[in-house]
C-alpha cells in the first residue's frame, strides 16, 4: 500500500531523512518510532505529498507521490501532530468541506459523520465553531475527517496526543478495523506501550536513518519494545 524506497530529504546541509526504505502492506498497522527530530514528521509529510523530497521514490497504492500526487492524496488521509484546523468553520462545515473535496456521496457522508462523531462523543458539538474546541476535540475532528472519505492508507503523526483514554481506545479499535478491512496505517508515536500492543510492524529511526524494522516479534524478540528502543539508541550513541 505504501512503499518508501531510498527516501532522502535534506534541509540545507542537514540530512533529515537518509536513504530510508519501508514497505507497508494492506492490512498492516505500521508504527514509526524515533526521538524528537529523528525525521519521522519529514517522512510522514513526504508520504502525503506535502513535502517535496530530494531522492528516492514513494508510491501509494501503486501510484507515485512525485508523478501522481493527486491520485495518491485521493486514497490517503493525513492527520498531523498538531490538529490546526479551520477555526473559522464549525465542525460540521469542516467535515462537509472534506467530504465535498474527496467526493464522498451524500448517503455515505451522512452515515459516517454520525457514526464517527457518535464514536468520539462529538455529535452535539459539531455545530460549534472549531475555535471553541479543545485540543482533544480538534484531534477527534481531525480523526473523523480522516475516516470520513474511507481512505486506503491513513498516515498519522502522534495521533494519541490530546485524546482522553476512551477516545484513545476507540481510535485503536478503528485502526484495527480499518486494517482488517484491507486498509493500511502508518503512524508515528512516542508511546511505546501502544505501539507494542497495536502495531503489526515497527520501524525505528534515528537521525534520518533506519535503525531497525520488521514485524513486532522480529524487532523486539522476547524483550519489550522500550528496552529494544533504548538499547538501539544507546548503541548508536556509544
Amino acid at each position: 500500500m505504501l512503499k518508501i524506497d531510498h527516501l532522502t530529504k535534506t534541509y540545507g546541509d542537514k540530512k533529515a531523512v537518509d536513504d530510508l526504505s519501508l514497505h507497508i502492506a494492506p492490512g498492516e498497522i505500521y508504527g514509526f518510532i524515533g526521538h524528537n527530530g529523528a525525521g519521522k514528521t519529514t517522512t510522514i509529510k513526504a508520504c502525503c505529498g506535502i513535502l517535496p523530497f530530494d531522492g528516492g521514490e514513494i508510491t501509494v497504492d501503486g501510484k507515485s507521490v512525485k508523478t501522481d500526487p493527486i491520485g495518491c492524496k485521493a486514497v490517503t488521509a493525513y492527520i498531523p501532530d498538531n490538529p490546526d484546523l479551520y477555526d473559522f468553520m464549525s465542525g460540521i462545515k469542516y467535515l462537509t468541506f472534506i467530504a465535498d473535496v474527496f467526493g464522498v456521496s451524500k448517503s455515505d457522508r451522512e452515515e459516517r459523520v454520525l457514526r464517527y462523531a457518535d464514536t468520539f462523543g462529538l455529535t452535539s458539538d459539531l455545530a460549534q465553531p472549531i475555535s471553541a474546541y479543545s485540543h482533544g476535540m480538534k484531534q477527534k475532528l481531525a480523526i473523523i475527517s480522516a475516516w470520513l472519505h474511507a481512505p486506503k492508507l491513513i498516515v498519522m503523526d502522534e495521533p494519541f496526543v490530546g485524546l482522553d483514554p476512551t477516545a484513545s481506545y476507540k481510535l485503536k479499535e478503528m485502526m484495527r478495523a480499518h486494517c482488517d478491512a484491507g486498509g493500511a496505517i502508518f503512524f508515528s508515536t512516542h508511546v511505546l506501550d501502544v505501539a507494542e500492543k497495536l502495531c503489526d510492524k515497527v520501524a525505528i529511526i534515528k537521525e534520518g536513518r533506519l535503525l531497525e524494522s520488521g514485524s513486532m516479534e522480529e524487532v523486539k524478540g522476547n524483550a519489550s519494545l522500550e528496552s529494544v528502543f533504548l538499547e538501539l539508541e544507546g548503541d548508536e550513541n556509544a
Binding site: 509529510k45 502525503c48 505529498g49 506535502i50 513535502l51 517535496p52 500526487p69 493527486i70 491520485g71 492524496k73 485521493a74 490517503t76 493525513y78 498531523p80 498538531n82 490546526d84 484546523l85 479551520y86 473559522f88 468553520m89 464549525s90 465542525g91 460540521i92 462545515k93 462537509t96 468541506f97 467530504a99 465535498d100 473535496v101 474527496f102 467526493g103 456521496s105 451524500k106 457522508r109 451522512e110 459523520v113 454520525l114 455529535t123 452535539s124 458539538d125 459539531l126 455545530a127 460549534q128 465553531p129 471553541a132
Partner: protein
C-alpha cells in the same frame, strides 16, 4: 516584577504594530528605525491636523474672552481621542487577555499583573494625549495673542496628565460593556467589522467636514460657551487653565482621580475572577440535517469566502476598496450631475471625463487586495490545502474567484452609475464596459502572483498578515502604478484620442492578465504545492 511585566506588555504592543513575527529572527535595527520614523510621521500628521483645528479656534475664542472654552474644547478632544485610542486595547488587556493562566501560574501577585496592564494603557493614553496637547498648546501660544503665565501652563500640564486617569476610567467601563456584549455573540467578526466601519466612516465624515465644522465652532463661541458652561467639569477644567484658578484645578483633578480610584479598586478586587472567568458564546447544539453535496471547486470557494467573512481584519483591510466603490456609486448617482455637469460643457475636458472616471474607478478597485494575502493567510492550516486531492491550481483559482466575485459586482455598480450619469456612447461605452472587468481580473492575479512569490506564514494575527505584507504592497502600488501611463497620456498628449489610449491600455492589461494567470496555473501552483 512590575518592571518586567510592563516591559513584556509594551514589547508585545510594539510587536503588534511593528509587524514582528513569531520566528526567532530579531527585528533588524534598520527596520526598527524605519518603523519608528513611520510612527513619528503618522503622529506628526495627526498633530498637524490638531494644530489646524486649534489654531483656528485660539484667536476668536481669546478675542471673545472665552479662553476657558478653548481649554475645555482641548480637554474634550483629548479625552475623546484617548478613549477611542485605548478602548480596544483595554478590552483585550483587561478582560480578554490570553496570557492570564500563564502569568497566574508564576510567582507574580495578581495586583502586579493588573498594574502592568493599567500602566500599558496609561502609556497608550499618554501618546494619544500628546497628539492633542502639544498642538493645542502651540496653537494657543502662537495664535491667541494672550500671555500665558507659568502657573497656567503648569495647570495645563497637570490636567493633561491627570486626564489620562479619567480616560482610563471611561475606557475600562466601555471595554467591559463591549466585552460582555461580544462574549455572548457568535459572530464577533460582524460586530468588529461594523464597529470598525462606523469609526472609519465617522473619521472620513469628520475629515471632509472638518473645515466647515471648525469655522462654525469659531463663529459660535458664545453659543457654545452657554452650552458647555452648564457642564461644570468642563467649565472648571477650562477655568483652571485659562485663569489659573486653583479651586477649579482641584475640582478637575478630583474628577479625574476619584472615578479612576474607584474603578481600579473594583478591578483589583475582581481581577482573579475576571482573569479566570470562562467566557464564550452560548453552545450551539448540532441538529442533524440533510447534507448538501457540492463540487470540490465550490467547496474550495466557500472555504475562501468563510475565511474572508470571518475575519474583520481581512474584511476591512482587504475589502475596503469594494466598500468604497459601492459608496462611490451612490455618490455618483446622487451628486454626479452637479459634480460633472459644468465639466461636460467644456470642450477640452468633456471628452476626458469618461476615461478619467473609468480609470479612477480602476484606481479605487486597486485598493481591494483580497487575493494578495490569500496564500499567506493559510498559515498553520496550509497542510490541509496541500493534502487535498485537488490540483494546487484549483485552490489558487478559488482564491482568485473570491477576489473577483467580491470586487466585480462593486465595480459594476460604479460602471452602471457612470453610464447613467455621463451616458457615453460608441467606443467609450464599449471601453467603459470592458476595461473594468479586465482590471478587476488584473488586481486579482497581480495580488495572487505577488503572494506566491512573497509568502509569509510567520504572522501572529490575521490582521498583521493582511496589512504588513510585501504582497499587499505590490498589489496595491502595482495596480496604481499600472494606471499612471494612461493618466499621463490622457492629459499630456492631447493629440491622442482618449478612446485610443484606453484601448491600448485595456489590451495591455488583458495581456498582463493572460500572462499572470498562466504563471499562477503552472509555476505558481508548483510553488504553492512545495511551500512549507
Amino acid at each position: 516584577m512590575l518592571k518586567i511585566l510592563l516591559r513584556a506588555q509594551l514589547g508585545a504592543y510594539w510587536a503588534r504594530f511593528s509587524g514582528a513575527t513569531r520566528s526567532k529572527k530579531r527585528q533588524g535595527a534598520g527596520k526598527a528605525v524605519l518603523f519608528s520614523l513611520l510612527m513619528l510621521y503618522v503622529l506628526g500628521c495627526f498633530g498637524f491636523m490638531m494644530y489646524g483645528i486649534f489654531s483656528q479656534l485660539a484667536a476668536p475664542f481669546a478675542a471673545a474672552g472665552l479662553s476657558w472654552l478653548y481649554f475645555s474644547m482641548y480637554g474634550l478632544m483629548s479625552l475623546t481621542l484617548m478613549v477611542i485610542g485605548s478602548v480596544f486595547t483595554a478590552k483585550a488587556q483587561l478582560y480578554e487577555a490570553k496570557d492570564n493562566d500563564l502569568l497566574l501560574s508564576m510567582p507574580i501577585r495578581p495586583g502586579a499583573i493588573l498594574a502592568s496592564r493599567m500602566l500599558t494603557l496609561g502609556v497608550v493614553n499618554f501618546v494619544c494625549g500628546l497628539i492633542v496637547s502639544v498642538p493645542a498648546a502651540i496653537a494657543w501660544a502662537a495664535r491667541s495673542g494672550q500671555v500665558t503665565t507659568g502657573a497656567q501652563w503648569l495647570n495645563y500640564c497637570l490636567i493633561s496628565l491627570f486626564i489620562i486617569l479619567l480616560s482610563l476610567s471611561l475606557a475600562c467601563l466601555l471595554a467591559l460593556l463591549m466585552s460582555l456584549f461580544t462574549s455572548r455573540l457568535r459572530s464577533k467578526a460582524a460586530v468588529d467589522t461594523i464597529v470598525s466601519l462606523v469609526f472609519l466612516l465617522a473619521y472620513f465624515w469628520f475629515c471632509f467636514r472638518m473645515n466647515s465644522m471648525i469655522a462654525s465652532l469659531a463663529a459660535s463661541g458664545s453659543y457654545l460657551a452657554g452650552k458647555l458652561g452648564g457642564v461644570a467639569p468642563l467649565y472648571w477644567m477650562g477655568l483652571a487653565i485659562a485663569e489659573g484658578n486653583m479651586g477649579c484645578l482641584a475640582a478637575t483633578l478630583a474628577i479625574c482621580i476619584v472615578p479612576f480610584a474607584a474603578i481600579y479598586a473594583v478591578l483589583a478586587a475582581t481581577f482573579l475572577h475576571t482573569a479566570t472567568a470562562k467566557r464564550g458564546a452560548a453552545k450551539i447544539k448540532y441538529v442533524q440535517r440533510e447534507q448538501k453535496v457540492s463540487s470540490p471547486f465550490s467547496a474550495l470557494y466557500r472555504r475562501e469566502l468563510a475565511r474572508f467573512t470571518s475575519s474583520s481584519g481581512y474584511l476591512i483591510n482587504a475589502g475596503l476598496g469594494a466598500i468604497f466603490m459601492v459608496v462611490g456609486a451612490v455618490v455618483l448617482l446622487v451628486k454626479g450631475q452637479a459634480l460633472f455637469g459644468s465639466f461636460s460643457q467644456l470642450p477640452g475636458l468633456a471628452k476626458l471625463l469618461t476615461p478619467v472616471l473609468v480609470l479612477g474607478i480602476c484606481a479605487i478597485a486597486g485598493m481591494t487586495t483580497i487575493s494578495a494575502p490569500s496564500v499567506s493567510i493559510e498559515g498553520k492550516n496550509l497542510w490541509i490545502a496541500q493534502s487535498l486531492p485537488v490540483p494546487a491550481a484549483e485552490i489558487l483559482k478559488a482564491k482568485l474567484t473570491l477576489h473577483i466575485s467580491i470586487l466585480l459586482p462593486a465595480m459594476l455598480c460604479d460602471v452602471a452609475a457612470l453610464l447613467i450619469v455621463l451616458r457615453p456612447s460608441g467606443a467609450m461605452l464599449a471601453l467603459a464596459l470592458v476595461l473594468p472587468p479586465v482590471f478587476v481580473f488584473f488586481t486579482g492575479v497581480l495580488g495572487l502572483t505577488a503572494n506566491l512569490r512573497h509568502p509569509n506564514f510567520d504572522w501572529v494575527t490575521e490582521t498583521q498578515c493582511v496589512k504588513n505584507s510585501m504582497a499587499v504592497m505590490i498589489a496595491l502600488f502595482g495596480s496604481w502604478g499600472a494606471l499612471i501611463p494612461p493618466f499621463v497620456l490622457l492629459f499630456a498628449v492631447s493629440e491622442l484620442p482618449p478612446w485610443a489610449v484606453l484601448t491600448v491600455f485595456t489590451a495591455a492589461i488583458a495581456a498582463a492578465d493572460v500572462l499572470l494567470y498562466r504563471w499562477i496555473a503552472t509555476k505558481g501552483a508548483r510553488r504553492f504545492s512545495e511551500m512549507k
